[in-house]
Structures are given as structure tokens and as C-alpha cells.
Symmetry: C2
Subunit: 180 residues, 2 copies
């Protein structure tokens, strides 16, 4: 079974919040949900054309003073129906590929210092993420209109995930230090 790319639904979801352009959606994704979703232009623009072709969104040329014109897309009733259908479907099993865990799995070949360096880099990354989540939380409380519960829920996941990784790294590093 060919699983349709989720890009389509990510864009429909964003459009269900408010009409938007490809450029603006990319920006929103990078600034707000990058910790669990990414897109790139090479993906977005063709997907938007497809949405229009399928009648799930309509395009309008919009002019804003002081900026180039943009193509603003609005979700249609058909688009909302399609989105809701997808949202209610169970998630397809996702295969994981963690380069870090793969390296660590074979890290017996490395010196302790080099193995520790991998863990320290991961620890630093997630400490920084934890800092960023604090700001995101404040941002949602300010900007979010309507039901923020689910936004906070995904944010909570991010926080718990990074906190877990930090603890695991610290624990792993302490084990490495104890080693002969």
C-alpha cells in the first residue's frame, strides 16, 4: 500500500487554522513545530499545487504593502473533511533510525573519550532544546487562539523527551567513567 506523504496533511492542518502562503507555513513550521515536524520548499510548493488540483484548497493572489505578492491558500470544505478523516486514522507504524544509537551500539571499538564525546554532544543539544521549550510555552500562551490544550500536549512531549535524553546521557557518561 502506498502511504500518502504526510506533507499534504501537515499543510492542510496549518491551513485549517488560517489561510496562509507556502512561505509563511514554512516559517511557522521552522519556528514552532520543528521539534517534531519539518518541511522544505521543494516539498511544500508541489504539495500546495496538488492540494489545489484536488480541490482541497484554493489559491488567491494577495498583495501586502511593502512585500512581494504571495499565493495565499484557503482550505475548502472538502479539504477539511479529508483532514479530519486523516486525523482520526491510526498512525502508520514509523520506523526509527537513530544514528547516535547506531554509533553507540558499536562504540566498543572507540576509545572511552570518543564515545563520551558523542554523548556529551547529545546532552548539550537537548539541554539547549529544553531552554527553547520554555520560550515556546510562553509563546503559545500568548498567541494561541482557541484550544491550546493539544499544542501544550505536544510541547509537553518535547520537554519530556529532552529531559529523558539528558538523564540517559548523564547516566551513560557516569557508567563510562566508572569503566576500567
Amino acid at each position: 500500500m502506498p502511504r500518502t506523504s504526510a506533507t499534504k496533511y501537515a499543510l492542510l492542518g496549518l491551513l485549517s487554522c488560517s489561510p496562509s502562503s507556502g512561505y509563511a507555513m514554512k516559517k511557522f513550521i521552522d519556528e514552532s513545530i520543528r521539534y517534531f515536524w519539518t518541511e522544505n520548499y521543494g516539498n511544500i510548493y508541489p504539495a500546495l499545487s496538488a492540494l489545489e488540483r484536488e480541490g482541497l484548497a484554493v489559491k488567491q493572489r494577495a498583495q501586502t504593502s511593502g512585500r512581494p505578492d504571495s499565493n495565499v491558500f484557503t482550505i475548502t470544505a472538502k479539504g477539511e473533511k479529508e483532514l479530519d478523516k486523516w486525523l482520526a486514522e491510526p498512525c502508520l507504524p514509523q520506523l526509527v533510525r537513530s544514528e547516535l544509537l547506531l554509533k553507540l551500539f558499536f562504540a566498543g571499538r572507540l576509545s572511552r573519550g570518543k564515545a563520551a564525546a558523542l554523548l556529551k554532544a547529545e546532552l548539550a543539544k537537548h539541554k539547549e532544546l529544553l531552554e527553547r521549550y520554555k520560550k515556546t510555552g510562553a509563546c503559545i500562551s500568548e498567541h494561541g487562539r482557541g484550544d491550546k490544550a493539544y499544542w501544550l500536549l505536544t510541547l509537553d512531549y518535547g520537554r519530556r523527551h529532552s529531559a529523558m535524553v539528558c538523564k540517559w546521557c548523564e547516566h551513560s557518561l557516569s557508567i563510562l567513567e566508572k569503566k576500567s
Copy 2:
């Protein structure tokens, strides 16, 4: 910069433990490290040919009684060097795409029951994973030769991850229930 596929290094890593065939490596991956790494035949066989072409592994035809012949690959000194170089390099930043979090982010459109169903499915999945990790832990203690510390470390990650997801699901479900 084109990032070389990690499949190459995954296979080199496995070969650094012991000579093996593509089929056997696929089996090992599926049975032991599926929780953080996956491969499929369409990926493995071409990668093995490439390893041979680059002089990182050598192929030998092997016959086992009662089974079809197999191509057993052995890592070369050059292959080990290449592997060690890769292992010591910092991990490239990995982009995350979680279909579950994406759905949840837009779950304000769903009934509470449907949103809860997504979480319940995830909870069930990770409860089952936790069960499996127990067995894997025992398996490593028995079979693992040499330095098991790093194997246990990746397993510890899996356990912590699934435990975190379970807690997050339960917490999220309790919030959904409290909602008006």
C-alpha cells in the same frame, strides 16, 4: 554536502562483530536492534556490493549443510578503518517527523474520544515494547561476547524512551478526561 547513507556503516559495524551474509544481517537487525535501526533487502544487497567494490569487505561463497549457499562478507582492515572514522565523527543533525505529534497538534478538530484513541494506541505500543526490552536484556547477557556495556546502553535508551512515552500518554489522557 551529500551525507553518505548510514546503511553502509550499519553493515560495516555488524561485519566488525563477525563475518555474515546479507540475509543474516537483516535478521539480526530485525530481531535485535529494530527499535533504533531498520534496513530492508533492497538497501542491503546493493550496499554490500558497494562495500566489496570499495575494498571495505570481501565476499566468499559459503555452503552450509541443509541450506542454500550464502554470500558471507568479511570486513577488511580498510573497512575497519573507515568504520572507526565514522564512529568517532559527531552525528549529523537528524530531522524528526512524528506523525502522532502532528495529528495531536491538530487534534482540536477531533472529538475527545478520537484524540484519546490515538494516545491509547501509542500507549499500548510502548507497553508492549517495554515487555520486549526485558527479553532483549536477558538475551544480551547470554549471547553478547566481549564488551556488552554499549549494547546495554542502547537498550537502556529504548527502555527509558518507552517509559517516558507511556507516562506522557497517561498524563495526556488524564488531561483529556478532565476537559469539559
